[in-house]
Amino acid sequence: MAKVIMTADDSTSIRQMVSFTLNQAGYDVIEAEDGLDAADKLAGIHVDMLLTDLNMPNKNGLELIEWVRSMPRFKFMPIIMLTTEAETEMKQKGKAAGATGWIVKPFKPEQLLALVKRILR
């Protein structure tokens, strides 16, 4: 069964690019437009991995990560943050909140795919 990956990002273009890249590689992708949307959608489904932006309206990435980690069934789920170079501090906070790793924007589709494949092997 195909692995399910959620991408949470307030940028439609990034979401689309992530979905397209991962769909092409045979993953199922669920899109969420912000932290709150992601939390709502996560409530009812199984997800193998979460890719989340950090700066989002409603519930930001950090809050989302903290919330996800507090759910017993997502205790061990890999979470990858999409960050920009300026956010070293955010990266640290994200790690403290329980993120598995990060990928720095801008990234190429191949880089994203390599990372996802690595973590979900």
Binding site: I14, Q16, N55, T84, A86, T100, F107, Q111
Partner: protein, 698 residues
């Protein structure tokens, strides 16, 4: 429209929306400077434009919005207050981005870069006037840390890294599986991993959600240390990661094949030199000592041993450039070494007759050197049997599909080395034996399942060293040999008397008889009844032995025992009168002294009672018509030839002898029971006996 165009369009669309949002937010802030939410919105908008812009190739836009974003971040933190100047600047910036977008889309005039620079300069001025550090001239060019290595295969020397990876016990709560990292390392090159279990607590204290293990990894890779470090980038701040390059000096220090275990352990910091030194002075291996004394865990030693192996291998391969040499030159060299060995033996004998210690010493030294030279020269012709094994993989695959069987070939000991000349002649017999296993041995899948065996049959091909011999086995998990069928057939063919009482092994040995085949049908693969006898003859011509063992329903195992080389064999030197003979030591079981009278008593039947076992014997003196001057005491060398014990009566047993084999020459080609000759130390010629032929003529 291709995909990337679609994304670009989507990005432009999105950016336009964001920019109109910027306008609203700015106006909100102007109205109410304390509106934190609006500031956040502004920051996010710039952030998204920057992130997505750089993603889809709008680098100018990304760079520009980076400066605005930085400014907004300061506002958000309260470092920079909201002023009219700031708001004006943001509005100008927004228009600037809109213009850049239009330009990129091709539906606007080219945006003037100087205008952008002016805005950036004003932003910076504003920030610095408020004591905030000016943003960087340029956003640092990002090298994505976890990006895959650049795909240029730099021809680089391999390096050995010693890595100790001790994950944070809570690593699982970050969604990271440490095994992923081990796999990543394994992908980079040759990698050996030893899990260290010493921190695992007792079961009652063990939390299943914690990671107690840590790993020692020895990685040989062409990648640089930074690439190795990058593997751990996600976990580096919480986990202990120790990566060291195993130093070149360690590798080349001293004239040893590799570093010493103790040195490795000290360098790793597992043990201090003092504790280590205490353990020396015993004959035991240092690793065993350390484990026994409780100084170190078994795993620690194991991982250090791994490192030693890898480094030694590096060391070897560093010098392992190859030279191709025509094999006749090698043969000549081997011949010369053979002569040298003979002459050295002669020299030793001559020297021992003169009581000259100076001469004796140097002769001893020459003896040692000759031995070493002989071994290294013979080593040149040694080749791993693996290449031969690989050929069979294909053979098994093709034949099993042809026979509609499912068979897997498992090989062990592919690295076992054998003389090239032996190896070359081994191909055909091995092919024949494997074909037999495929065709007669392993049953069709349906039948196998009926018998409760896995549908897929297995043939195990293995090679290993045993003394100066190489043992090759072909084992299948098929039906096994049918003793009754073979017996019946052998009786039909007149190979054994009808009422003969024979062990199963003896009956199995009948399949080596010429023209023997139990297959009811002749298939294209086997069953013509030529083969097993040829196999046996080939193996024997290589001075080897073939053994067969089978359990009905469980399978058949055929064992080939071959000498390492054909040039020099281990022989047993014996004498009759003043003539010397060599028996291949491989087949010798024991030597028994016997009084002439005892022989007399049971003469006529030529059978000797050895501890209750009746052993037939051949008196070589009679066989070679060497007269009748038998000594009081004779010796019987009992050999195991084709699973029958047979004794050879000689006058004296002299002892083991490294026998350099010399062919007898064409004049003697019809003499079957002598397979060659050798020259002894004093120049005497000794004949090498072919025990198989002697047995047949008995």
């Amino acid at each position: 429209m291709n995909e990337s165009n679609r994304f670009i369009e989507e990005f432009c669309h999105e950016a336009e929306e964001l920019l109109s949002g910027v306008e609203d937010a700015v106006l909100d802030i102007e109205e109410n400077p304390g509106d934190q939410e609006a500031v956040n919105r502004l920051f996010r908008a710039m952030h998204t434009i920057k992130g997505s812009g750089s993603m889809f190739g709008f680098d100018a836009i990304a760079e520009f919005s980076h400066h605005v974003e930085t400014a907004m971040d300061k506002v958000r933190n309260g470092t920079v207050p909201v002023t009219k100047t700031l708001i004006d600047l943001i509005l100008v910036s927004r228009d600037r981005i809109t213009a850049m977008l239009a330009e990129a889309n091709g539906d606007g005039p080219p945006a003037d870069p100087r205008e952008g620079e002016k805005i950036i300069a004003s932003l910076k001025a504003l920030l610095s006037s408020h004591g905030a550090a000016a943003p960087d001239e340029n956003p640092p060019k990002e090298t994505p840390e976890q990006a895959s290595e650049p795909a240029k295969p730099v021809q680089q020397n391999q390096a050995v890294y010693r890595i100790r990876f001790s994950p944070d016990p809570d690593i699982f709560f970050t969604g990271m599986d440490p095994v992923i990292l081990l796999y990543d390392l394994a992908d980079m090159g040759e990698c050996s991993v030893v899990a260290q279990t010493e921190k695992v607590p007792d079961l009652e204290n063990l939390s299943p959600e914690s990671c107690y293990l840590f790993w020692d990894i020895i990685l040989t890779t062409a990648k640089r240390i930074n690439a190795v470090k990058d593997v751990f980038v996600f976990v580096e701040d919480k986990c202990k990661i120790d990566i060291k390059t195993v130093e070149e000096e360690v590798i080349t220090s001293e004239q040893m094949p590799g570093p010493r275990l103790g040195d490795i352990l000290v360098e790793r910091g597992d043990i201090d030199r003092k504790t280590l030194d205490k353990q020396f002075g015993t004959r035991k291996k240092i690793g065993e000592r350390l484990v026994e004394s409780g100084a170190l865990s078994k795993e620690k030693i194991k991982s250090a041993l791994n490192e030693q192996t890898v480094v030694s291998k590096m060391h070897k391969s560093a010098a392992a450039s190859t030279v191709r040499v025509p094999s006749d030159r090698l043969d000549k060299l081997i011949n010369l070494v053979g002569e040298l060995v003979i002459n050295q033996a002669r020299l030793t004998q001559v020297a021992s007759n003169r009581e000259d210690t100076d001469l004796g010493e140097s002769v001893e030294e020459i003896e040692r050197l000759t031995g070493e030279l002989r071994d290294s020269v013979l080593n040149i012709r040694m080749m791993p049997i693996g290449t031969t094994f690989n050929k069979f993989r294909r053979l098994v695959r093709d034949l099993s599909s042809q026979l509609n069987k499912e068979i897997e070939l498992v090989t062990h000991g592919a690295e076992t080395e054998l003389d090239k000349t032996v190896l070359e002649r081994l191909d055909d017999p091995l092919i024949h034996l494997i074909r037999n296993s495929l065709d007669h041995g392993v049953e069709p899948p349906g039948l196998r399942e009926l018998k409760g065996k896995p549908a897929k049959g297995t043939i195990i091909l293995s090679a290993r060293h045993k003394g100066t011999n190489v043992v090759i086995t072909i084992q299948d998990d098929g039906a096994g040999l049918n003793v009754d069928t073979i017996r019946q057939k052998a009786v039909e063919k007149g190979l054994i008397p009808e009422n003969a009482e024979l062990s199963d092994k003896k009956i199995f040995a009948q399949i080596f008889a010429p023209g023997f085949s139990t297959a009811k049908e002749v298939t294209s693969i086997s069953g013509r009844g030529v083969g097993m006898d040829v196999v046996k003859r080939t193996i024997e011509s290589l001075r080897g032995r073939i053994d067969i063992d089978s359990v009905p329903g469980e399978g058949t195992k055929i064992t080939l025992i071959l000498p390492l080389t054909l040039a020099i064999i281990n022989g047993l030197l014996v004498s009759i009168d003043d003539d010397f003979f060599v028996l291949p030591l491989m087949s010798v079981e024991e030597c028994v002294e016997i009084k002439s009278k005892e022989i007399e008593m049971i003469n006529g039947r030529n059978i000797l009672n050895v501890r209750g076992d009746m052993v037939p014997y051949i008196r070589l003196r009679d066989r070679f018509h060497m007269g009748n001057r038998r000594p009081e005491k004779e010796h019987i060398v009992i050999t195991d030839v084709n699973d029958s014990r047979i004794g050879f009566v000689v006058d004296h047993v002299i002892g083991g002898h490294q026998t350099v084999i010399k062919p007898l020459g064409p004049a003697f080609k019809n003499i079957k029971d002598i397979s060659g000759a050798t020259i002894l130390g004093d120049g005497t010629v000794a004949l090498i006996l072919d025990t198989n032929v002697l047995l047949e003529s008995a």
